[in-house]
Amino acid sequence: MSLKYFQNLPLKIFSPLFVFASPMQADWFALNMTRGVTDISNEVFELHMLIFWICVAIGVVVFSVMFYSMYAHTKKKNPVAASFHENHKLEIAWTIVPFLILIAMAVPASKTLVKIYDDEAGDVNIQVTGYQWKWQYNYLEDDISFFSNLSTDMDEINNLVPKGEHYLQEVDEMVVIPAGKKVRFLITANDVIHSWWMPAFAIKQDAIPGFVNTAWTKVDKPGVYRGKCTELCGKNHGFMPIVVKVVEQEEYNQWVDEKKQAAIKMAELTTKDWTAQELVERGESVYAVNCVACHQTNGQGIPGIFPALAGSDIVMNQKDKNIEILMEGVQGAAMNSFSYLSEVELAAVITYTRQSWGNAENGDGEIVVPKDIVDYKKPKI
């Protein structure tokens, strides 16, 4: 019977229950850490293997003696136990020898750690901000800013359609960095603590509100690398992956230009005349990315934790208050400021909530246009 058979065995047993739940590919050999793609991550891998084998050796020695006793010193074979119960030389030896082994492990570990701790600025500096439950990337030199959200279909998560190759490891917009350049990440968070982990670079840094942690990398090999959030950050902790695309410098420059062009287009949109219909259409997608996790698709929220928007007096009748909540957040509650969204996005999403779920019919039905947000942002006298 081949290994293949066993791989599919669970699928055969449970297929009536979970039609699409089973993975299409199996990975019995995903047993160890993988080598990284940077000097540091390879060094970390070597260090991991070194301490692993030292631990295995210690285990083999200790357990061999023990198993030998269990075999040779049973009551049957050795009816009268020996009477020794101390041996100072032996005891000193097994205190000192482990100590020396520890030093042998600590020296390379400390050296690698010193290399990792390098605070110098990079050729490219990117601010990484954790949000519930997405990542924001700000390229400090080029003034590029965007969010990166999970792009896996909800239907895959709910086992309604087969899962794709990069299930839960794919995003709508990847972080792009140039190959062969030192890239520094400045990592922080906007709400709770997150942690930015990219195994291939051996970077794991907590993203903490009020703090900026740094980490750096230099990747020579272009490619797409996938990582995850590793600090429990609430409901969708498992659903905010990280994807970094490493490209050659030329391609990187091209990407930077495209992003800048897109930013200019966005600015033009702010001044355009918007109809309610256009705003609602645009707002729906903004809502799906930013609001739906808490307030739900039907606008009902989750009783006791996340308030309903459907039928809310603020959403139906108090346009100014509505803008204020999105811009400032709600003190002491999970609702954060969303002022980092563009004026167009903010106006669209507010209008969407004011026009949906019967809110327009039961309330004043007013829409919010990007100019309202621009006005709100102007200094107040």
């Binding site: 979970f18 850490m33 205190t95 701790y117 982990w197 051996a202 840094q205 903490i208 009020g210 590793t230």
Partner: protein, 527 residues
């Protein structure tokens, strides 16, 4: 365990009261020990059921059984219940039963406080569990409850959680004070400190750790309470506070807490290995010094739980080296156990099987702990399933196996009846296989890159997660057998002799089996 006395009124003192009030009003260390043990077993089953919900959800990728929100409540309650409701009360129960008998004392020093420290516990866990039915659900921020997820972003039930942690803390502190006072004042003449049984030593050290760190935990949750309800900003960066401060305080409690859950196990295992090797324990005084060193070091290693929060280089180096140092006294203990078995005259009754499994599997957990201490490597291990595998190896086949070993070892003394050896061995083998099938693959899953506390995962982790879930159900179901064996023993069976085990040493084996309701009303003579 509960039928200790019914047929055994050989004492001229009064026996236990009848009915429910016996248990409500009791100040008898044996009754209270029994209460603690049954309570912890109930919590073990509840916490275990939650673990099975977690493993069922992780059986395959995709969300099948629970919502991510409820999943987070399960991981939180599972951790809190197993630690504060399962392992800790079990050890306090064993201390109650055994410490007075081992030092030749008639009872615990503070019997009324003993009653109080037990009877507030059910209320603490009632409050904690009732939060499952509150609006917004139970605490969902992990048993480590990092702020601000546990403050600004927490469900309203967090206030009840804080209250229940306070009650658990009060219970632990009272229990610990009782143990210290008993050991310090009530040893029979001739029981000098360096002649105390190792279980007593281990509990003396544990009790000091508890007294030192439970107030720190109380401080942490009180600061949370202030942040949530009284407008302070201890942990709120926007108000000038510091979320990392929470982690420093929490782990200053948390790391000694880890040893609180393993030191009594060291004591238990030392007795059992000595007994079934029929040979005096190797290196008694080095065992004591090793436990003391471990306890002292536990106060200077807390930040190894926080290597990724952005500590300065000097701090990372210090905490790495200090943590590695713990391997030395821990190694000494393991070597001593092996040397005790060496050239002994071994038999493998159920307690010995659990004790040997403890030494092997705890050592594996200790070695993975050493790997986790290496900071650059920890950047890859931190908050992955490798950590989950590590601490379950030291807690399940570590702490919990030692508790099971203790029950098998002393239940003949408690109940007067021998347990069924065949069933005991079956229970051992099922548990042993179950625990390894559950937790060994989690090393693979973690190294391959799956973070902990994920309700759903990428496809490359699917196979070993499935194996792990199968193991968890095997382990879980096996514990029903444990319940059955204990009940069967309590209700009847082959009568135990006073000595019970051929190689057993210590005062508890000099009293009748079952131990009379009152023992050592006059102190025994010890040379």
């Amino acid at each position: 365990m509960s039928a200790v006395i019914e047929n055994h009124h050989d004492d001229h003192h009064h026996g236990p009261a009848k009915g429910l009030t016996r248990w409500l009003y009791t100040t008898n260390h044996k009754d209270i020990g029994t209460l603690y043990l049954w309570f912890s077993f109930a919590m073990f089953l509840i916490g275990g059921a939650m673990a099975l919900v977690i493993r069922a959800e992780l059986f395959q990728p995709g969300m099948q059984i629970v919502e991510p929100e409820f999943y987070n409540q399960m991981i939180t309650l599972h951790g809190l219940i197993m630690i504060f409701g399962g392992v800790m009360p079990a050890f306090v129960g064993l201390a109650n039963w055994l410490v007075p008998m081992m030092i030749g004392a008639p009872d615990m020093a503070l019997p009324r406080m003993n009653n109080l420290s037990f009877w507030i516990l059910p209320f603490a866990f009632f409050i904690l569990l009732s939060s499952l039915f509150m609006e917004g659900g139970a605490p969902n921020f992990g048993w480590t409850f990092y702020a601000p997820l546990s403050t600004t972003y927490a469900p309203p039930s967090v206030t009840f959680f804080i209250f229940s942690v306070h009650i658990m803390g009060a219970s632990s502190i009272m229990g610990a004070i009782n143990v210290v006072v008993t050991i310090m004042n009530m040893r029979a003449p001739g029981v000098t400190l360096m002649k105390m049984p190792l279980f007593v030593w281990s509990w003396l050290i544990t009790a000091y750790l508890l007294i030192a760190v439970m107030p720190v935990l109380a401080g942490a949750v009180t600061m949370m309470l202030m942040d949530i309800h009284f407008g302070t900003s201890f942990f709120n960066a926007a108000g000038g506070g510091d979320p990392v401060l929470f982690q420093h305080i929490f782990w200053f409690f948390g790391h000694p807490e880890v040893y609180i859950m393993i030191l009594p196990a060291f004591g238990i295992v030392s007795h059992i290995i000595e007994t079934f090797s029929r040979k005096q324990l190797f290196g008694y005084s080095s065992m004591v010094w090793a436990m003391l060193s471990i306890a002292i070091l536990s106060f200077v290693v807390w930040a190894h739980h926080m290597f990724t929060v952005g500590l300065p280089l000097a701090a990372e180096l210090f905490f790495m080296w200090a943590t590695m140092l713990i391997a030395v006294p821990t190694g000494v203990k393991v070597f001593n156990w092996v040397a005790t078995m060496f050239k002994g005259s071994l038999t493998f009754e159920t307690p010995m099987l659990f004790a040997i499994a403890f030494v092997v599997l705890f050592t594996i957990g200790g070695l993975s702990g050493l790997m986790l201490a290496i900071v650059p490597a920890d950047f890859q291990y931190h908050d992955t399933y490798f950590v989950v595998a590590h601490f379950h190896y030291v807690l399940v086949p570590g702490a919990i196996f030692s508790i099971m070993a203790a029950v098998y070892y002393w239940i003949p003394k408690w109940s007067g009846n021998m347990y069924d050896e065949r069933l005991g061995k079956l229970h051992f083998w099922l548990s042993f296989i179950g625990v390894n099938v559950t937790f060994f693959p989690q090393h693979f899953i973690g190294l391959a890159g799956m973070p902990r506390r994920y309700p759903d995962y990428a496809l490359q982790f699917a196979d070993w997660n499935m194996v792990s879930s199968v193991g968890a159900f095997l382990f879980g179901v096996s514990q029903i057998l444990f319940l059955f064996i204990v009940l069967k023993t309590v209700m009847g069976g082959k009568k135990a002799t006073d000595q019970v085990w051929e190689g057993a040493r210590g005062l508890e084996w000099t009293v009748a089996s079952p131990a009379p309701y009152h023992t050592f009303t006059t102190p025994p003579k010890v040379d």
